[in-house]
């Protein structure tokens, strides 16, 4: 096994990785910016190296200093966590050339899955559905009509350069297509200085369903029960749960096997996630693959009892999978709320400052992953996640009740947090019924926004 792992990250995931290493008997090296001198990952690790000033471009993204820190501390592996350098093929390459194991899949797998067009091409080869649409941009109306009638209405026209709803048009029938394309093009031109648009089949009220997979060097891949991450705001996941109310045993098997097939196509080793959109008729479409550990991995850990970070380290070292697909079972229902330093009343504007008072929820069925403590100063440089609050209970109803009482117990004073937002969601009748699609927040929580 590895002797010493350098963790090229900060916050809760750095702490999470240190925990796994401690339980595996592996020494740890924390790297940190000057803004993180008092951070828990620095406190909990065996050694620490300051690698730069606060802004992450000069510290957590500073490849030479991170590699050098691994060298001077004698680390034989680097765990990149999520974000920062986790999906950076150049970093993976540098690690390899320096004889340091990058804890993740091969750089080829990262590359193949990192490029969306390339990823879709590979996935199509595996006969897994991707959202049908134009190969590139569309211009001619006749060409567009032909494609639309092939992929079937409704379709959506999207700006190639776009985002945030600009240059986007949903089209229900052929008669509206010409106008929609023209409006989208001119909107896109105005918004992004680029009028190019493309067409995709429009999935009405989809759910975001993802499968955690684990692969070893012998080519064996297993999947864990799905996570439903439909509660999103601007493509940022806020609440994740497992299992999904929309997935029955048969669909789970079908989607899980599809996820494994994709992983096998890129010879995937360690842990990763295959993300799908699921429509109301149980059709699912590949969206992307995350070639790293994710924030929401803990949801799957709670329901299965599998320690994914330990498995990730073991698999990266070259060990074989030690669990068979038929032994992976869900032991209940888990929900995760991401507690962010953001003001939900003010459009989720980030909040930084000192945590003056902290009371953490406890008791049965609670898991907290956090790097904060009473007196902790939230630096302004990094992402706003303060804590992941997770609950496990026998069923979804029980898990929601438990989450409600845990949110009520959670006291974080000194900064604004998303706790009130989560309380609102747990109270929401549609959420409680499980009627949650990717438009849930704008439709059910803050329709006015």
């Amino acid at each position: 096994m590895f002797k010493k792992i350098l963790i090229a990250n900060r916050g809760e995931i750095a702490v999470r990785i240190i925990r796994a290493c401690k339980e595996l008997g592996i020494k740890t090296v924390a790297v940190h910016s000057e803004a993180d001198n008092d951070a828990l990952h620095v406190r909990f690790s065996d050694e620490s190296v300051c690698i730069g000033p606060g802004p992450s471009g000069k510290s957590y993204l500073n490849i030479p200093n991170i590699i050098s820190a691994a060298e001077i501390s004698g680390a034989d592996a680097i765990h990149p966590g999520y974000g920062f350098l986790a999906e950076n093929t150049y970093f993976a390459e540098v690690c390899e050339s320096c004889g340091i194991k990058f804890i993740g899949p091969s750089k080829e797998a990262i590359l193949n899955m990192g490029d969306k067009a390339q990823a879709k091409k590979i996935v199509r080869k595996g006969k897994i559905p991707v959202i049908p649409g134009s190969e590139g941009t569309i211009s001619g109306i006749e060409e567009a009509k032909e494609l639309a009638s092939k992929i079937k209405y409704p379709v959506i026209i999207k700006a190639s350069a776009g985002g945030g709803g600009k240059g986007m048009r949903v089209v229900q029938s052929e008669s509206a297509l010409g106008n929609a394309i023209m409006t989208a093009q001119s909107e896109a031109q105005a918004a992004f200085g680029n009028g190019e648009v493309y067409m995709e089949k429009y999935i009405e009220e989809p759910r975001h369903i993802e499968f955690q997979i684990m692969g070893d060097k012998t080519g064996e891949v297993v999947y864990l029960p799905e996570r439903d991450c439909s509660v999103q705001r601007r493509h940022q996941k806020l609440i994740e749960e497992s299992p999904s109310v929309a997935v029955n045993a048969k669909l789970r098997k079908k989607m899980g096997q599809a996820a494994c097939r994709i992983a096998k196509l890129v010879k995937y080793v360690t842990v990763g996630t295959v993300e799908f959109l699921l429509d109301k008729k149980d059709n699912f479409y590949f969206v992307e693959m995350n070639t790293r550990i994710q924030v929401e991995h803990s949801v799957s850990e709670l329901v299965t009892g599998i320690d994914l970070v330990k498995e990730q380290i073991r698999l990266a070292f070259g060990e074989k999978l030690n669990i068979k697909q038929d032994k992976i079972q869900s032991k209940g229902h888990a929900i995760e709320c991401r507690i962010n330093a953001e003001d939900p009343e003010r459009d989720f504007v980030p909040s930084s400052g000192t945590i003056t008072h902290l009371i953490s929820p406890g008791g049965p069925g609670i898991r907290i992953d956090t790097h904060i403590y009473s007196g902790y100063q939230v630096p302004p440089f990094y992402d706003s996640m303060l804590a992941k609050l997770l609950v496990l209970n026998n069923n979804r109803q029980g898990a929601i009740c438990r989450m409600q009482r845990a949110l009520n117990e959670f006291v974080i004073e000194g900064i604004k947090t998303t706790i009130p937002f989560h309380q609102k969601v747990m109270d929401n009748a549609f959420f409680r019924k499980g009627e949650v699609y990717t438009n849930f927040i704008q439709r059910r929580i803050w329709p006015e926004r």
């Binding site: 300051c50 690698i51 000033p53 050098s68 060298e71 001077i72 320096c98």
Partner: protein, 170 residues
Amino acid sequence: MDLKQMESFIQLLDETDINELVWEKDGIKVAFKKGEGQNIPLNQKELKGKTKTGEKKQIIKEDISDRDELVSKTFLRNDKNKYVTIKSLMVGTFHIISSDKTTLVKEGDNIRVGQKIYIIEAMKILKEITSEIQGKIVEILVEDGHAVEYGQSLFLIDPRKTKQQEGKNV
């Protein structure tokens, strides 16, 4: 600590302007605290303003058994406006002896802007670092061959020293 000892303490404490004292040994803890608010002369208050938290912490960490050391360090710090610290901007192994066995600089040397003063080894590459200031090396804070992190102090420089000398030289 017996009553006798306690008495002498209290007297001692009373004569000074020390306000609070905690003494702990084998689970026995004795704490003294004087009344708040006491005729401290103005000049003392001004002096106090100079002691910053960061410095206090450092002093506390040091071994106070060596009193001379304490005084000298305190002196240095009080004099810190005089000195400039050269810090490392890279993580790596610090070298002051180059590959051809020559020592780049030593304590007492005068250095000038652009002079090669140390080498950082990182990712198997040796990078020569030149000084951005001129002055006299008061102290080299890291030993040759030791690892350094970002922001670590490497040299203590007295920038006035060469200015004077240069003045003479010119």
